[in-house]
């Protein structure tokens, strides 16, 4: 791949949200969680395929043993995947509202100083922070369930 001659361009720059608005942070996180999820999905399909090998479950149990041999890394990894799925899904709802239905961005206005873009306005912020809160709560619950065996609803 040819080196990009532009100043501070590339993957790291595109994912670097420091100094910017919260929506840019959510873009970076959405992208990172998306990559985590697609990697997990492809591996998960191979893993689930073991359920179809034979009827005694030997292949499936062997696969599970390999995963269990990772120790706490297995559950921590699953916890990260769970958090990624929660955030990517919740933020995805916000993005569908923005992109497909044009909601949360406001209407064209006459700019009056001091400027405050409506696309980054109150509605957008409420939704972002609500998403963040809900995702954190569910992620903690997922952590308690996976890592400590707590939070099971009988």
């Amino acid at each position: 791949m040819k080196k990009d001659p532009r100043y501070k361009s590339g993957l790291i720059s595109s994912l670097n949200p420091f100094g910017y608005n919260i929506e840019r942070w959510s873009y970076a996180l959405h992208r990172v969680t998306g990559v985590v999820l697609i990697g997990y999905l492809m591996a998960h399909i191979f893993e689930t395929f073991q359920l179809s090998v034979g009827t005694t479950g030997t292949a499936w149990n062997n696969t599970m043993n390999v995963l269990h041999s990772l120790g706490p890394l297995e559950l921590v990894g699953l916890w990260i995947v769970a958090g990624s799925a929660l955030y990517h899904g919740a933020n995805g709802i916000r993005l569908i509202l923005n992109e497909m239905f044009g909601k949360l961005v406001g209407k064209p206005i006459l700019p009056v100083y001091p400027y405050s873009p409506t696309s980054l306005g109150r509605n957008q912020k409420i939704v972002i922070w609500t998403i963040t809160g809900v995702v954190l709560v569910l992620w903690v619950w997922a952590g308690l369930y996976l890592l400590a065996g707590l939070g099971v609803v009988q």
Binding site: L41, L51, G92, I96, L146
Partner: protein
């Protein structure tokens, strides 16, 4: 094919995925009434696939279409191929076909 159609597919699969993935988490998670280790048992996992074959089929197809389309977008932005965009699309479609085939095979054999 216009890019808007692939994005419409992304949006629709996203909306469906929210429901089917939530269902998957409910079956494999704390609302199943079991510990996580118990949900990994062969009989339980296989039983779920048999009982909810249609939902898991929907989950497979929407997840692969949504995920690999996302990967295609990232690759398109990162590599921005001027003349070989068709090659990138071909690779993604091939990957989609492979994983859909593998997943469909699993569902059919288990069912």
């Amino acid at each position: 094919m216009k890019e808007s159609w692939s994005m419409i597919l992304t949006y629709i699969t996203a909306m469906v995925l929210i429901f089917v993935l939530t269902f998957h988490f409910l079956l494999q998670g704390p609302l199943a009434g079991k510990s996580f280790e118990d949900t990994l048992a062969f009989s339980y996992s296989r039983g779920n696939l048999v009982s909810f074959e249609v939902i898991f089929g929907l989950l497979l197809y929407t997840a692969i279409l949504h995920g690999l389309n996302g990967l295609r977008v990232i690759a398109l932005e990162w590599f921005h191929p001027e003349k070989k965009a068709w090659l990138l699309n071909l690779i993604v479609v091939a990957l989609m076909a492979f994983f859909l085939a593998l997943g469909s095979y699993t569902l059919i054999m288990v069912g």
